[in-house]
């Protein structure tokens, strides 16, 4: 354990909140306590409320690892000072920006990518017949700070926006720290923009029952997605992804379908919870998903999937590279670079890079196809939605760190092979798909239902949602997939 964890205070804290996750009883108690204190403070004490959230967020992270909480705090302080300097400087602004980006990427590279690069270097030197002066690192044992990819991107976008004079450097240190550390988005996003968030931090907040209702609803929808859909799908996909060579072709296809639903329900469920918790404190975070599997092409998919990351990549990588202004070839190159960066952002493995390249190729292919074919027909929309879903689902096969298992999956998918079946009858998988469709219907087409139902009925429905989510959870210890990024 890192610095500070051995003190009685942090040991007690760690016992309560061993990991910075939302779906635990410890978090419920933590959140209820912080909410109570937060709304008890008079509203004219906005700075006190902000400071309370900063302290709470630090505790939320430090309960897991006090040393790494200090690291996040340290880099955030450095980002704050560098941005102030950047704003005040008349000369050398680009150098200060590069310094800020280098610091953030350096910390990210040290924790997240050093194992990968050192191991690849080790393999390369050994393959060339040169003696390697160090042993290979065990990647599973390397400690990666939770949320490092998320808050690094937030810090970089802040520095770039200050450099571009899109926003002013934040004067208030607590406000800036809250922008980076605010616990609802600290661990797995959404990636917030300083321009959006800091305005909200300055605004005096009043208790608002509507906002509380929305917050609770979002939290419950997130819990439902995680426990009822994602964790159920994990029952079907995890054993197959862990040992694809042992399973037959039908089973592998079902597992791919299950994984597609799982990763969506898991990540969008987490994002809903993050948005919901933030709402309870009077903050509105970026919406991260918009029915991505209803996208009719891969470009549309990236406008609906992990929106905070895709817009970040668009604004801070794609457009600075030239965007789509330099002709088809340059656009294709830019798309490939952006998606490669996006792939590597998820993890330091060749498989993630390949996943990014795969999506880059899909995007380039779609651009070419869209120039040649112009069909406007409902059946075509339906078919293209199905094709996009299958293409994206096949991409998820690469979205795992183990290369040999990815290959085994691909082999099993496209060659009729015998083997084991799913660990549980797939009836519940299909019922969950029906449930997902009903949820979509309820959320999108029946929005008016929520507005017109009597309050007690709505209250009962929300309580039932929580009860059903708890009872239907097949496992107690399935982690959110995106916490590993």
């Amino acid at each position: 354990m890192a610095w500070g964890s051995d003190t009685l205070y942090f040991r007690t804290l760690h016992a309560w909140l061993p990991e910075p996750f939302f779906q635990t009883q410890g978090f419920l108690v933590f959140c209820a306590f912080v909410l109570t204190v937060y709304w008890t403070l008079p509203r004219r004490w906005n700075n006190a409320r902000v400071m309370l959230l900063v302290v709470a967020s630090l505790h939320f992270y430090a309960a897991w690892n006090a040393g790494l909480a200090l690291l996040v705090l340290g880099t955030s302080l450095a980002d704050y000072l560098l941005a102030r300097w950047l704003e005040a400087a008349n000369r050398g602004r680009r150098l200060i920006l590069l310094l800020s980006i280098a610091m953030n990427l350096g910390v990210l590279a040290y924790f997240k990518y050093r194992g990968f690069f050192l191991n690849e270097l080790h393999d390369l030197t050994t393959a060339m017949g040169l003696p390697a002066s160090y042993d290979k690192l065990d990647l599973a044992k390397l400690l990666i700070p939770f949320g490092i990819s998320f808050y690094t991107f937030e810090a970089i976008s802040y520095a770039v926006d200050v450099y571009r004079r899109k926003i002013q450097a934040e004067r208030s240190l607590p406000h800036f720290l809250l922008f980076i550390l605010f616990f609802p988005h600290l661990v797995a996003g959404p990636i917030v923009r300083a321009g959006d968030f800091l305005r909200q931090a300055q605004r005096i907040k009043r208790w608002n029952w509507l906002r509380v209702q929305v917050g609770i609803q979002l939290c419950l929808i997130g819990v439902f997605k995680k426990f009822v859909i994602a964790d159920r799908m994990a029952v079907f996909c995890d054993p197959v992804f862990a040992d694809p060579a042992a399973h037959n072709t039908n089973t592998v296809w079902l597992a791919v379908l299950a994984y597609s639903l799982r990763i969506y329900a898991d990540f969008s469920g987490y994002s809903d919870m993050a948005l919901g918790v933030a709402h309870l404190f009077g903050y509105k975070l970026t919406v991260n998903f918009n029915m991505p599997y209803l996208a009719s092409n891969v470009s549309d998919f990236w406008r609906r999937w992990h929106i905070s990351l895709s817009t970040w990549l668009r604004d801070y990588v794609f457009i600075p590279l030239g965007g789509s202004r330099g002709g088809e070839l340059a656009t294709a190159r830019n798309l490939m670079i952006v998606m490669g960066v996006g792939g590597l952002w998820h993890g330091a493995q060749w498989t993630y890079l390949l996943w990014g390249v795969y999506h880059g190729l899909l995007l380039v292919g779609h651009r070419l196809f869209a120039r040649l074919v112009h069909i406007q027909h409902p059946l075509w929309t339906l078919a293209s939605t199905a094709i996009t879903f299958v293409a994206v689902s096949l991409g998820w096969v690469l979205f795992r760190p183990e290369w040999d298992k990815c290959l085994a999956m691909i082999e099993r998918l496209f060659a009729i092979a015998p083997g084991a079946t799913l660990p549980l009858h797939h009836r519940s998988l299909w019922w969950t798909v029906v449930l997902l469709f009903t949820c979509w219907l309820a959320a999108s087409r029946w929005r008016v239902l929520w507005e017109r139902l009597p309050a007690p009925v709505l209250g009962v429905l929300l309580a039932a949602l929580l009860g059903v989510a708890q009872v239907m959870a097949p496992n107690a210890d399935t982690m959110f997939i995106y916490f590993t990024f």
Binding site: V212, Q213, L424, S428, R452, G459, V460, L466, V471
Partner: protein, 352 residues
Amino acid sequence: MNIQTLRIAVSQLLALPRWLPKARRSRTAKARRVVLTFVLLTLAANVVLSIGMDTFWASLRDAEYGARRVKLQARVAANPERPLAVVLGSSRTDFGIRPLAAECGPLVCNVSEAGSGPLLQLLTLRRLLHDGAKPKELIVEYWPPFLAAKPGYNEECRLDPHRYLASDEAFIREYLSDPDETLRLMREVRRTPFWNHRLRLLSRVLPSWLKYDQRMDGNTRVDAAGWLPGPVMPADRARSVQLASNYYIPGLRDYAIDPKAERALRELIATAQEMGARVTLVWMPESSEFRSWYPAETEAEAWRFLHSIEQETGVRVIIARDWLPDTVFPDSFHMTPDASIGFTQRLFSYFP
């Protein structure tokens, strides 16, 4: 029905909520009522379920005991004139003693539970007495592996804190090595009953949604007298026997009787005798393979302990270890449903 009609039907279905009247209250007032209803209902549901599972829905918290208690009460109510005999034991008696397959003097009810040794037998007896049962005869399984003191094999490590009822607190304080921790776990389980009992609840409503090792609906197959059909003969019996040997052979080495198991067994006998019930200890059938796994000193210790209990308390002992051939044991120590008929008939001849 043509496409046009179908489209109209679907669009009307999607527009269904629009038929609802518009809300008359302000949105803020409505939101407040929604939030308060949700919070109060969630708290109430948790409190009701938590208290209910200790009182009127006790079979939800401990389905194994609950299912058998219900059967016992129904059987006693249907035969109020016959003296009650209760079978206390593990899955071996659960699968082996089939009261409806044989006639005997008393009204026999099987209240066996998987993994049960003297501790769970005593707890079950206490619960039965608490629930108003008045047995005149106790048929208690005696099985040395479940009296072992060895860490990892003693009975305490098999007891599930989720199953304890509020009325079990005295037992927990008297028999468990860390009662405070168990009571803390019980409190934790009661704070969030939906979450902590989700597998039990889901086993009731959608058992096929759970993996085999998560399902807790085995008790739905219990017959009217508490007998549970045992395993059928597998295609690969040798593998099942091998798995059993992997677990039991190390457990039977360096054998010693657990003092807590001895204390529980003595208390069980004393309690029964105080209320005028006769106690019979039955060493249930084992295959020759299983019998060969007992080291000589373990066998000697098991016999010594049984004889001392027999002499000191005056209980009756029935040794049925070799009553059945190896071919009726799918895994060397559980008998098949067919074998349970003959075995029960022979056993019940001791209870005219």
